[in-house]
Symmetry: C2
């Protein structure tokens, strides 16, 4: 993979450069193509302009957004395979957006939902089953690009790179991430002294939270080298290293017996073909009265991950439908107790991340090149719109062994404290 | 089908009669067989006795239960296919139980869970796809055996023949059924003036409840002639006939547009092969901001319905796994918002039903023959144990159209009132 320190996206210089055509006025063909695009897109909220048209701002045109092509190649690429090419064209600056990027994305989602095309048929073909070395490469690609970068826009307190829980809509990002962690711990009914295993622990914030607030012992598995190093340092600073062990290893190597299994935001990277094996592992490590929770991005129906996201942002990732997720539980004698869809909480979380991102964009520019800055803006904004439009879901699935009767009769205990 | 007014089970006189062998003392073979059975069953809580052994009561033997065979044929039938034959042998009195029947059933469930055998492989083969005439016959078999009978042991107030909701464990059956109906209405967020369609309305108690307590208009579909007649009378008595319409027709013929679709305890009779069509129907009749709830008995994994239950009690019924239920939602662009497993609530509901059943057993004897009385005792006790052991689940699945954003952010509103 062509990666440099400053541009983990693997965009080559050539792609980043603006390949302007030599034309002064657009050829008749260009004009026809952009008219066709406007017609297909059928939106009064977005206007397409060509490289040699005057750059009148969207506001002055009385439109929310204008989308501008820098060259004929950009226009042709967008026309031929928009889902795959928009990302790189936007990142490299060959497409620029004057106005709110999210409006363009909204219209794209609307357009896609009316024209599902072949994408659904392709979804199954794209679903991969990563082996251990695939997983290491995929995780490294996304999570090892620099802890300093993530710290600029995630919540300060717990560095949670997963959906927060806005128990009330006025919550800050920090409050909502704390509320998310409480919500998960309450679902699992963690009790002091119990042993918890975490699969995919991020920067360690949730493992430390469980130890601190619920008095449990935690073993947390992660294959991101940078995250593990950070987690261990953090545990020492918090004086929790005796109760929280961070293991730099794959979830497939979890051993021991635990009162609870928890995985927040890892299933996306596991791969459909490994779900049954994951369930077998959970079955093996849970005590008789053990509880488990899987928190993951999902889908209402099988559709492929956007090809640009799959190539540049999350290689190997796959958001599964609930039916697909059942492959973890059903063959392994696990009983699903509760499923909660937190889709709009992820839309809100991403809004907060995007606000932080823009607020610290100068600091991000000092770490990465402009193509990276634009790509991650697009990724965050696109994800926000995907959750808002219902293209993505967020499922929390609580489970136990089949026939385990030490379970609360209602879910009222989750709502007793008001957060 | 061989049915008489007094014995809807279809047990012939011959089957009901006790085919005693002429033997005085049991042959060596019988003794060996019953020893083998004891050994296979491996329980210190149940003792098997033969027809010519003295009938010392279980209590005097210091055991919870004795199970007594009336003849050699009964013993052989139990040995060859216990899951299918126990029901008829018990119903006809060829097997009698001295002590708590549920203890025998507990041991049978324990034994089955340790010896899954072929039953799981057979499950798929047994899953049927009833057409309209199958459905009419199946529903008639179970639900048209007499409203007076069901009134003797269901809750008084709403005649709910589905899982109740014990918001607190001290609730009576009547309170828990009211709480169940509130729980469902709150999940659906019914508002006064809205239009609701119900698929499979039982005796109409829930439709009337929704109209009365939530001010909605209800159309309720049911193919049980006796239940529809009852429902219409009841609506008149309650002066709700202008707001609740009971339609004697199959759910497949639902038309119109509704703010909510609800089905409590019908999916068990729909048949796997009809799930996708059911989802398409829901999709067709729901408004853009419509909500839906399916409440159904289910499974953690695919196992066949007990063959005796399938033959005598619920022909055509199939409790689906969550994965199987997703066939309703996933292909039809519906989004699952919330799944709650109320398994132990159904165990408790059945406990209450069984108590009422025994309290009114003399009245039931005046309606049906002894084989029926025993069969239904077995069915209720067996179902109670199935939910307790986790062989059966109860899923409430709440859903909406994909991308519908007029949804509450949390489920706290379900727990605000304390019931």
């Amino acid at each position: 993979m062509n990666r440099s320190q400053s541009s983990p996206l693997g965009l080559s210089g050539k792609e980043s450069g603006q390949e302007r055509t030599s034309a002064g006025r657009p050829a008749t063909l260009d004009r026809r193509l952009v008219d066709q695009l406007s017609k297909r897109f059928d939106s009064s909220r977005v206007r397409f302009t060509l490289w040699d048209e005057p750059a009148v701002s969207a506001e002055n045109r009385g439109l929310p957004v204008t989308l501008r092509f820098s060259d004929r190649g950009a226009l042709l690429q967008l026309l031929t395979y928009p889902e795959a090419n928009f990302g790189d064209l936007y990142s490299s600056g060959r497409i620029t957006v004057d106005g709110d990027l999210r409006i363009v994305l909204d219209e794209a989602f609307r357009h896609a939902s009316q024209n599902p095309g072949l994408s659904r048929v392709l979804a199954r073909l794209r679903a991969t089953t990563p082996d251990l070395s695939d997983s290491r490469r995929n995780i490294h690609h996304h999570y090892d690009i620099g802890n300093d970068f993530y710290r600029l826009w995630l919540d300060r307190e717990a560095l949670q790179y997963t959906c927060a829980y806005y128990a009330n809509p006025a919550m800050s990002l920090d409050q909502a991430q704390q509320a998310k962690m409480h919500h998960v711990c309450r679902k699992l009914r963690l009790e002091s002294g119990e042993h918890v295993v975490e699969a995919g622990g991020g920067w360690g914030g949730f493992a430390l939270f469980m130890a601190k607030h619920y008095g449990v012992h935690v073993r947390s598995f992660n294959i991101s080298t940078e995250q593990i190093a950070w987690s261990r340092e953090w545990a020492k600073r918090e004086e929790l290293a005796d109760r929280v062990e961070f293991v730099e290893d794959d979830y497939r190597n979890i051993s021991g017996r635990y009162d609870a299994f928890v995985s927040v935001g890892m299933l996306e990277h596991v791969g459909l073909g490994n779900y049954r094996q994951l369930g077998a592992l959970i079955n093996r490590v849970l005590t008789a009265e053990g509880r488990g929770l899987v928190h993951s991005i999902g889908r209402d129906r099988v559709i492929p991950l956007n090809p640009w996201i799959a190539r540049r942002i999350f290689p190997g990732a796959y958001p599964a439908t609930l039916r697909e997720m059942m492959e973890i539980f059903e063959p392994n004698g696990l009983s699903v107790l509760d499923v909660e869809n937190l889709r709009l909480h992820y839309a809100r979380t991403l809004e907060h991340w995007l606000e932080n991102y823009e607020a610290h964009v100068d600091a991000i520019r000092s770490l990465f090149d402009e193509a990276f800055v634009r790509a991650w803006r697009l990724y965050l904004a696109g994800s926000n719109r995907a959750f808002e439009h219902g293209t993505l879901q967020l499922f929390q699935v609580l489970f136990s062994r089949s026939g385990m009767n030490a379970i609360p009769r209602t879910r009222a205990h989750l709502y007793a404290s008001g957060d």
